[in-house]
Each structure stands twice: as C-alpha cells, then as structure tokens.
Symmetry: C2
Subunit: 200 residues, 2 copies
Amino acid sequence: MTILTITGYKGGIGKSTTAFHLAAYFSDLGKTILVDGDPNRTAVKWAGRSEEPLPFTVADERQAMRIIPGADFIVIDTPARPNSDDLKELAKGCDLLILPTSPDIVSLEPMLDTARDLEGSKYRALITVVPPHPSREGELMREDLREGGIPVFETMIRRTVGFAKAALAGRPIRDIEDARARGAWDDYKALGDEVKEIIR
Amino acid sequence: MTILTITGYKGGIGKSTTAFHLAAYFSDLGKTILVDGDPNRTAVKWAGRSEEPLPFTVADERQAMRIIPGADFIVIDTPARPNSDDLKELAKGCDLLILPTSPDIVSLEPMLDTARDLEGSKYRALITVVPPHPSREGELMREDLREGGIPVFETMIRRTVGFAKAALAGRPIRDIEDARARGAWDDYKALGDEVKEIIR
C-alpha cells in the first residue's frame, strides 16, 4: 500500500486538483482511494458531479477507515494551512508528502519555512497554476526553491481553464475533449511518473 | 473489521478514557488500534506514559492509514463538539457511534439535540463520570434519555480517581492495584460486553 498526502499552506494552489489527478493516474495501476480530509470536501463534491463512476473511490475522511483495507494506492487531500507540527506528522503517515505551490514571490517564503519544518522528511514541492509560455515564472520558482534546498518536482502543472470544466463535469481532465486539457493531463501523467519513480 | 467511534459535544465527559478502555477490552479479542483524532491527542499522550507496551496500538490519526489494514477492531477518538453534519458522517463511517455524557441536567438538552441529528444512525449514549452511591444521578439521566427516545447503554461508568492514576501510569485502569479501580474496569468490561452484543 502506497500513501501519498497532498497539503498546502494556503488555498487555491491546486491541492485538491492534484489529489484528484494523482488518484486518476494511480487508478490505472491498482485499487486507488482518494481520502478527502479537506473540510471543504472539494474532492467529494467533484466526484459527486460525475455522471459515471470514477476509476477510483473518493471517501470522506470520516468514512475512510472502513474502505481503505485492500487499497493499493491511497491519496490523501488535507486541510490547507497545516502548522509545522502537523506537517511532520503528516509526513510520517505517508510515503510521499506533496506540497503544491503557485509560482509567485509571496509563495516562496512560506515554502522555505515549510522546508525547515520538514527537514529529514520525504516530501516534494510541486509548482502548479503555472502561467503559459512565454512566462518563465514556473522555471524561476523551481530554481529559487532548489537554491533554497527544497526538493521540487521537475514536472510543473500548467494553468488551464480545463480544470474548471473538469471539476464541473466531475471528471479528471483527461476525460475533457480539448487540446489544452490534454496538455494538462500530460502534466499530471508526467507527475505521476515522477512520483512512481520516487516511491518505488 | 469493526469500527467504534467515540465522540462528545463537550470535553471532560470521559471521551478519550472510554476510547482507551474499549481499546483495552477489544485487544483481548483481536488486533486493536486506537486512532487518536482528538486534537488534544489525549490517548497518544496516555499511551506515551506507559513504560511497557500496551496490548493495542495507539496511532495519531495522521498516521492511521498506514497501520489499520489487518486490524480487527478500530476505536476512533474524535474531537469534542462535532457539529450535526459531522455526527452523521461519523456515524456512517463506523459500526457504532458512542456518545459519552455526564449525568447532569445541562447535558440533557445537547444530548436530545444530538439524537435528533442522528436519527436513523447506529449510536448509543453512554453515561459516564457517575457519582457514587447513594447519588441516583446516573439512573435519573438514563431514564431521562430513554424518555427522550435516545438509545443508551445499560452500563454506566462510575467516577473514580483511579482514572487519573491510570492516565498518569499510561495504562488502562485494569492494571491499577486498587479496589475502586477494579470496579471501574468492571464497568468498562460490562460496556465492552454490551458493545459486542450490539455489533455482532
């Protein structure tokens, strides 16, 4: 059983979107459960809008204990703004802690603090909501984080309206017919490949 | 796998004590894990003071997913003061929801509200912190709850300083050498028997 936990120090940085799409990715590889521990229940609501069953199960954290035995992959979405104690405890409970962050200067400082809290834990920063070419904000953020000693995924998740469409349809973005949506799924596929490499 | 969830609308009503002692009871019957979901981490701290291993595992909720596969019994301690939405979701996630309450008139009203929220769910009220004979507060509370249509355990948990000693020693009260402590363990044993009857 592999456990991936997604958390972030603020909202709007693709935390639940990342949890949802990693669950989609890993559902191709084994029985996958997405545990929604965010009080907003974004993932539960997302799944609730789907007209057809998803390839993974989305469970409210208050019902998760009942269904997780037998799962191969568990993706946990958590509340935003964990405190530093929480972060360490979350990291202990999973195989990889993933911290999405948007590529802006105000996000850099909290990520560097986070890195201090997580020293010695298995985690990666993930740059999300990346503005399209020719913006270099994503690359610059990645360089800044690496200079700060923070392990960061090579893959970045591009900003696209496709995610809003996907959320409305209750599906992962790979099910949305749209060229840019396909690009966004490619990002999550690349992320899944990277995660698989790290946890094996 | 049997899941018992303990919750309460306020602190100081024996919630964590009940979780700890039901875990002790069920550890005689199978592999038992106590998941500490109370932000105070009372159960984790209680277990941390024990000099010898307990017959059950106490896990911080943030690490629970990793260890619960393979457990026969899971006892979940939750934050006090769940809202009504929480209560229903908690009840869906377990085989029996247990609501400790002290036997006083100010506790009656919130229990009646709770019962309304939980209509149709599998739950029982548990009267705890019961003052010693000749006080009849416990029996009166039980009658009041039953009149209010609330399912309530026949067993009541008597108030005793033995619980403080047990907490300090990091052990269940059955390990404390003291005549009154033995009486308190008898209460939890009777409670465990009742729970076993309900969930089977």
